[in-house]
Subunit: 340 residues, 6 copies
């Protein structure tokens, strides 16, 4: 009873090397990613038994996606085969004042065309302790809002802890659409993950005095947000990552956890960014791990924040760090000294 | 009055380097190709004024496609903007007994969703002498059969020479579908290009005694095919490329031209293949060039065959050879001696 | 009861790109391989449930080796952790008259230092139908001859089919050493794999009139060898791959199977070599698969030969081809025509 | 009447990847650049109709240079063919305290050997609104001082706005030579671009209290310089980029515009440098664009500064950013947040 | 009498590109390094006649190591041939809070198995002025403590200046082992190099109030350390590099020299790290050069510190900077401005 | 008295990877080569003490050239420093019917501008046994014909054996120019190397019945040529390489040696070409080595032919094979079997 299940879309990620623009190169990194797959792979690196659920077509690109998950120890045996294509996202990495750029080419992917009944949740949830999903999956529309809801209900029946990252994506749906669907899912959720924009955009819950563009964060405002979210959906905990974007190359990073009427704030890290994609997902994985291992609340938060701090030093969507590495940072050694 | 217009779909081409399989690499060549774009670029390398027509979305991947055409001197100013995505084809290069593998991910591309009226053929055909299309474009379905037909009619009104490569693609449509649509387009066509399978699959016209798998070609059979095609559609010429596949690494390559009741056969080349994709398109470009330049019939055929022979030594969809290089080979120097 | 188990050493393989020499580059391909791991990965690509057994140290290079096996679906959960290092082999790819070059740096690897008792064969062999090993593993000396013998005995007790590839490596042991150890293991073996040199070097069984350097093979001679081997060790079958080395770039490849007093010869392939390392292992995997699936004897041989023919077109130690691809070649299509 | 013409030398740029030194690698980036070509390509990215004028030999390296310009939409049809070689500059990228290093190998390039009469300025300047040149071109000596002068005269006759970047290069000529030639050209110039060293080195006009090595800039001093330059040559505007070099990795960047007796200062950016080559050229392109589009004076300056700030995040000589991206930064969002 | 001799182990260095982890790539940089080889190559770049002594096996990997030294002008003619393998170290480059990671695979290397008598020190030390070794070589155990001691004695007999970098490596030996062996060698040493941890770990000499993890350095404490070391071993000088690790991406770097009862402190540099491996070795080379050239004491220190500051901007173990580049920085220009 | 000296121009060689065309890539291989440097490096690989003489400018590109020679053990201490640039040749590798393409950019290189008196031949020729030059060096014109002549005279005075490869390059000079200059040098030459075109183009000595384009060689004709050359210049030996170009991918390769009125013909090799540049130079190095080692005449020829056969399997200008590898092939093993 220690398995984690995550469910969502794994996409082919096509990215120019280094800081090259899309129109400046003839070579692309060919990797895979997606919020829930990122959580699964990060958990596998932490030694957690994790199963990833999605739908993929029967072709070699899908095989490469499965291989990439399997390589890091994620169970892929429950992935459903069918449909026509693997969704794609093109990623151009920014630097200094130039932002990273994402082009989605994920419409008509196999998972977005999934049918009610494609997933045998009873089988999937055998021996499962935790189920994680994000707001990206219902945003793919089609039958996915209904499928997500069904999954949550089935998980609930089995007393599986459910965590959900709001993860609003404005290229996928509107605030109104998100509000409607997410409001139906959230009542099943135990642990809610949000970033600085999600709560406001999806649920209209606004942190006071925060200017996202400038990167100024009001900690008091975040308390309000977490409190308000909890009142509305009765979460066991709300975790909010606090990113202060100085530039595409430098960020400050910390997090807040609202739990049992207490507010916990993590240490803040000043980060030289190698890659920021997947930062939130690595935080979620860290928190799931630490909560499943019954760490102290403040430690849970510090573990998750340290894990996601390290993610920013790693190329690709996936956080490839182990428990020892996170513990070292969490205990205060972020000096980057060579170990030899 | 010397411009050539080609019309079709340019796709993002994603290909592992060397002979790596899709599941064996994390890097892809990021280039572009498509039968009609290939013809356009090959013609531009021959010094021909050529304009390429398609529909592409407004994003950086489409910009990269346009840049790639523009780079080689193809006029892209008439390309229509709109729709959602650039079509993709994944290409894994074969070797020895292992065949190259193509995975199409081109459904829902901008061009495949084109609307009647997207293309202002009167404007496009200004100063145009030759119009080239292939059977791939109507195979994309939607409005494309009708758009192709309209383009042919408009070209005919202006006395523009029309060439069409049958280019049957079994992953796009059935023989029956192809037969119906192509039979409506062919009456407008002056020069018909076909390979060893097209005539039979689309029009049921079979070369006697030919075994494509074994690579044995009956020249007599091809005469029948050309003759039969001409009888049916009243072509000015039928050109058939004759590929004898020994393996993915070695092919024999020659061509036949049926013109004015005469049969012409080219020299046969034994080719060490660097890349065979685009071989037929480079032949078409060679024949269009040589016919536009009023070469002797046998020379037209030899020029086109030599051009396409050289294509097999060049990476990517596009034939990047100039007239001098083709002439050198056509005149008999295929020794590959260093020029210094 | 359909699992296959293979046991041996997986090494880090470090190889210059293309045809570069060791002293000519600053970049190495970083992959993994080893005869028995190659068989395991090839079987996984054929859809077989396969478990790979070895001993690896606790470090990131070993993790990368495990990931590489896991990526292709091989069960790595029974791999034993311990020892100090991952064995290495440096490979420089030859071309034309220049031979490929292997430098071994595998002494003191974890597996070569394995202890009696490291492997719980009873657990390993649960649900197992077939056990494959090669002569390379006992050649690593230390406790490995004894461990291999124990594994064979345990397998025999469970009626598991045992196959063994003689795979003599002159850089690891002498003919005399090999003869002594292999003679103790062979009586447990059901299916024996050998190449043109093994039988003679290890057991002094010589094919008449064969000149390995010249690449001339006497088929009659091989019949004698197979017959002789069978008489000595009472094999159910002896499979011999027949490589005719024209140069490092071109080989002829076929195989013979001696089974139930009958001699079967496969089709011969003329191969343009992309990579010949792992050719014999891919043959073994093909034969194991086809025998487990109860194909006709001649079909078993043709399947294994076609599988290993295709291997020569694939980079790296592992054969990454599926059953469909092998069947296509086995049925006669080696023309390498693009599928689209 | 909206075309821009730029004239100068486009060079082959050969550069080790990353931060490797010339003596440490066997691979070079093979791109093209040169001050005036950089301005042309940047303008093309802003949607401006721009024609680039130079002289290039008839060979494939020159073709690659032309292709690179054409790829981004620059008109290359007026480039003159002739001469023997494409000029080269080798660039080694610095980091931290180590400066970037340029080795010129541009002597005897086709453009440096250009003849009086090679350029048909009447034809070149048809429909032209703006002509841009830099001090690098006359510094190539030969006939170029005279050709530049002739071009300026012809432009003046047609009421074309002329901008010139002083761009002193000490490896090409002495202060004295520069002074003499530039003093003859400057009277034709409307908009003068300079950096912190140019005015002093070429015209002996020194900003008070400025220490270039330390990167301390006295804004008052720059006012004096601009004022003095204008008095001497009667410019409509003088634009000075203000670079404060903390190290090869970090710079501060802003600019001053002197226009109509007013001094305008831009916002200052703290930049993590991906590449600083072409920074000044991207500023010039930004100012030309904004002035041609009749933005407010302060906005012209902010647009140009934001454009050139972004350039520092882009590999290669060319600024590949569009108007939207510049506007976003100009309006204050330099947070580098991912857009998705 | 101007030759320098260094003695130690040169290892194959295998490193993922950029910031990739060991488990995330299939490509490794293939270079060479080792403390004493690093000093030799750095000296060769400064124009010093330097000979490197080690033992290497007879194979192509060893040849590549020799070639790499020879390429930069190091004399390799005294390298002894024998033994079985080239030692390896795997290096994963860290970033931000993630530390670089070293995996040693150097056991059983040829040098570690060297025999007493392998090295003919009389011949090696002909015309030699300076001998440099480090604590890493005796840490390899076997006969190396004795060989190092013999070398020192032989050098002393010839009045050769001896410098030794303590360079404690906890993966190679314990503090106790180091203390015993190094205490026997140190009496022969004239110039002692140490970093912030060495003196304490090996000799129990602790800088007061220094917290290495936090990167806070007490300069007073270092005076004590240098003083104490000198008292114990009677050094002519003690040089201590002072690294303040803000993160794996940013360090402060300076050094202290204790000489003739005086304490000298260098300028401190704020460094954006490209690579920190070899930083201490480049400092040692800088000090050896400047002392051999009889610079003023403060200049010696500044030269060595500037040299090693620049090393941090260079990929690989070796410092590839020349005297001019160091002088420029030493004189205060660390602005990184392009030279053109 | 065993040293070899070679004299000529080492050029920067810039080459697209694989079979890419110049206009199709943004990356170039950055290596060095030149006929006489190729001979020097090949000899160094054979264990010969060899010194390379040229003139190079004082910059990092020249340093890289020197490093590349030094890396393989060639003595570079006599290279003269001065002049402005390193000559360049651009190389595009051909395949199948497409020939390799060379673009020279070597005018004004340091060596081509060398002064009479730059080279101290008395010092250079100390301890020298053999001097090798080629017709390329005098073809660079300027003072080089005179310098070459002087070198030959000085060598003659010292009884140094002189070998010269005619190596006619039509891009450097005309037949008439070559004839005049080479006729003055040849009387000093002992061993003359020529290929199938040189004798005719330079000296008007034609092999009967040979068609170079078709690759048909008349052995009788070559006897005539060698005989005729010897009669004219009184050579001790004439060596002619016989290349039969089937295509850019496949050649036949053998050689003839005329010595003491006897004609020797080597074995003929069928070669799959990895790189043919430097084939003749590697033959010259092989013959120099074997003659210096007093092999039997036929063995000398076979050694040189086998050495140069292997060169065709190696990337770059330089032949990187050792004596053992050549001997193995010379003794008949060209099967390319893996050694392990």
């Amino acid at each position: 009873m220690s398995k984690v299940v995550t469910f969502g879309e794994i996409m082919l990620r096509l990215s120019p090397y280094g800081f090259l623009r899309f129109t400046q190169t003839d070579k692309l990194q060919y990797t895979f990613g997606g919020a829930e797959a990122n959580v699964a792979v990060a958990l596998a690196h932490l030694g957690v038994d994790v199963s990833y659920i999605t739908k993929l077509p029967k072709n070699d690109i899908a095989n490469a996606a499965i291989n990439d998950l399997r390589r890091y120890g994620v169970d892929t045996s429950k992935i459903v085969t069918g449909g026509d294509r693997v969704g794609i996202y093109y990623l151009e990495k920014g630097a200094s004042q130039r932002a990273s750029k994402v082009i989605y080419d994920r419409a008509y992917s196999s998972i977005s065309q999934a049918n009610i009944g494609d997933f045998d949740w009873d089988k999937i949830f055998e021996d499962t302790k935790w189920f994680h999903l994000t707001g990206i999956t219902p945003a793919l529309k089609g039958n996915l809002p209904q499928i997500c809801l069904e999954a949550c209900k089935k998980a609930k029946e089995r007393n599986i802890t459910i965590s959900c990252d709001i993860n609003f994506r404005k290229k996928l749906w509107t605030s109104e659409e998100a509000n409607e669907i997410m409001s139906s899912i959230m009542p099943y959720v135990d642990i809610c993950f949000a970033n600085e924009e999600d709560a406001e955009t999806v649920f209209g819950i606004k942190a006071s005095n925060t200017n996202i563009i400038n990167g100024e964060l009001s900690l008091e405002g975040y308390k309000e947000v977490a409190n308000e979210l909890t009142k509305r959906f009765n979460f066991k905990a709300v975790a909010i990552t606090l990113r202060s974007s100085i530039s595409a190359s430098d960020n400050k990073w910390s997090a807040m956890l609202y739990h049992d009427n207490n507010y916990y704030f993590s240490k803040e890290y000043f980060i030289r960014i190698i890659e920021r994609v997947g930062g939130g997902d690595s935080f979620a994985a860290g928190l799931i791990y630490s909560m499943m291992n019954n760490m102290q609340v403040q430690d849970c938060l510090e573990f998750a924040t340290a894990a996601s701090c390290l993610k920013h030093s790693i190329e690709g969507d996936f956080n490839r760090v182990n428990v020892d590495e996170i513990m070292t940072l969490m205990k205060g050694d972020g000096s980057g000294r060579v170990q030899r």
